[in-house]
């Protein structure tokens, strides 16, 4: 047919990846804190900072899957908590550390899958279902240990390679948790953008009814993504246990906002059909730099919150300006 326009060969011009704008926002922020306090820029400091926010980043990387599908999970903080409790109590009960870890992750997966089953069978958005299950998981965690902390103190446990590696007793140039989380990010990114599973997730988020008519098993995929979210939260839980050496009843309770913020600052819209795993990593680092930067510069506690807010606005503003520039440039 003659309708094909003359230049329809795929003109591959060089395009900046969509994460560029958030990355610039991150660099600007690091630059500002570094300009005020040059020690901030020391690699060891930046690595430590990244390590402290690694678990939140990991979960942000996975919540991108849910957001891409047009869903949101409110319960993952408590899944993290209960998974860590399961792993911790198992260790204390004498189960070998690695097996206890697997148990913790399995518990997370089961909780996630339960969310998925409920959302599919009750035909309700995940956000509504997890409004309930969040309390359920928290409640079970409270009951399991009678509102106390779970602290494995036995030397056999605390000297285990898992705790030593994560707890920082083994010296590595780059914190081990960082390496692990970066690897996880590669896997998450490839899964979302290079596999059929990921394609299906984005298709569901983009137009659920069209996805169903295209033969995509939408219910199955939903359950799988929820289970994955649970599994990753479970991994987050055992990493937390290894990192901190203990789980408090409140662990995970404050995670919702920073994690979701990381994902959306990173560029994943809430509306579904699109998502960037790497963006969420950068978003998590932005959240981290803001959190630590404020104390690093030495801003008074009373002023800290205001400054945090202004910097968040600034960060999303930079991102937005860069984005608009890029659009113009096309």
């Amino acid at each position: 047919m003659s309708t094909t326009p003359s230049g329809a060969k795929s003109r591959k011009r060089f395009k900046l990846p969509e994460e560029t704008s958030v990355l610039i926002a991150l660099i600007v922020l690091i630059g500002i804190v570094g300009a005020l306090r040059p020690t901030f820029l020391k690699p060891v400091n930046l690595l430590n900072l990244a390590a402290s926010y690694a678990i939140a980043a990991l979960i942000a990387g996975c919540i991108v899957f849910l957001l891409s599908m047009g869903e949101i999970d409110l319960s993952f903080g408590w899944i993290l908590n209960l998974s860590a409790v399961v792993a911790g109590l198992s260790m204390i009960a004498g189960i070998p550390v690695w097996i206890a870890i697997v148990l913790g992750i399995a518990a997370g997966t089961v909780m996630g899958a339960l969310n998925g089953l409920l959302t599919v069978f009750m035909r309700l958005p995940l956000i509504i279902v997890t409004l309930g299950t969040a309390s359920v998981f928290q409640g079970i965690s409270l009951i399991s240990n009678n509102s106390g902390s779970v602290v494995p103190t036995d030397k056999k446990i605390t000297e285990h390679i898992f705790f030593r590696a994560l707890g920082g007793s083994i010296d590595t140039p780059v914190p081990i948790i960082l390496i692990f989380v970066l690897l996880a990010f590669v896997v998450l990114h490839l899964t979302l953008h290079k596999t059929r599973f990921g394609y299906r997730i984005l298709a569901i988020g983009s137009n659920p009814e069209a996805a169903r008519l295209a033969g995509i098993p939408t219910k199955k995929i939903k359950i799988q993504v929820c289970a994955l979210m649970g599994a990753v939260s479970g991994v987050g839980g055992v990493l937390f246990l290894g990192f901190r050496g203990a789980v408090d009843p409140s662990t995970g309770g404050q995670m919702l906002l920073p994690v979701v913020a990381a994902a959306i600052i990173g560029g994943t819209p809430l509306s579904g059909g699109a998502g960037t795993v790497w963006g969420s990593l950068i978003g998590a680092m932005i959240v981290g730099v803001i959190g630590v930067g404020v104390v690093f510069i030495g801003i008074d506690a009373v002023w800290g919150t205001l400054v945090t807010g202004l910097v968040i606005l600034f960060a999303i503003g930079v991102d937005q300006i860069v984005r608009v520039r890029k659009k113009r440039a096309i």
Binding site: L49, S135, S147, F240, P249, P258
Partner: protein
Amino acid sequence: PAQAKEKKLTIGFVVHVVGNPFIQQIIDAAKMAAKDLGVTIKVTGPAGAEGDAQLTAAQNLAAAGVDGIATSVPSASMVNGLNAIIKSGIPVVQFNGLGEGVNGPYVGEKSTQSGRILGKMVLDKIGGTSAKGSVIVGNCYPGFPVLENRQKGVLESLAKASGVKIVGPSDVKVDAAANFAAWQGLLAATPDALAMVGLCAPDVESIGKVNKAASNTTTIGAGYDLTTGNLEALANGSAHISLGQTPFIQGYLPVYILVDSIRKGIKINKPGFIDAGTEVVTATSVTEPFKLPALTFAKLQAMAKSQAKTRAYYEPVVKGYIKDWKKNLKPIADESA
């Protein structure tokens, strides 16, 4: 008074947050008191610390017909509501968090004074009034009254050394991971700091971890609460001082006061203060208030795990200080003295 004894009393016990190990120790003590006194106890509290939800819980206990209420009062906005309950004839005893103007006695630490103690101990460790250098202070929840008081006391003591420069107080956040990151950042920003002083439960543990990671520093770590993690940090030498708030007394005494006053028909509808004391813990010594026998670190850890041992240890206090609560009731101004 005699007929009051016949009816089995029900006491409502309202905490400001459930799922906090320290608060749980208070709850456990309250339940021991209830058992000792033969009364029913109903424990409740909101999942996230918020005064309004807590007040609502207290009001509902009142509506459900409890005979007395013990509650922490972290928020000034609870005061009027609690006074309304008191006015309707249900006595209220406060613990752990003081609401200014509540018409009932308060059981808790002298928050400003405990801050002073902590500040002084830190100062002693870094060279006394001639100390020269920076001390980092972190507040995990700016605006929380008890913390503001502690902060005031700490700064007051540290001000005695003119060479000490205060870094902060910075907002170090409650969430464990964020708290750790904040302390890590603070120390990286001021690597030659003489001491790090926190005001909340997660601080000592975080400071310990930060200290341990930055192996070459000799920064003193100090803060509050005797959680398992904090005691670990003291034990392995990565942190140095932690003050305890005697959760046993803060839980046991309010229930005792309520039951005793109801049974004996004593009116307690006036502000008042009963000192719950402050425990001072370092790796080498555990100083308990009320002339209780000195504890070793190991004993303290064992007690944290066994309610029976805890109860046995505090027997003298229950028989003495607690039984004589009326005698120890001081004007409320003593709290912040």
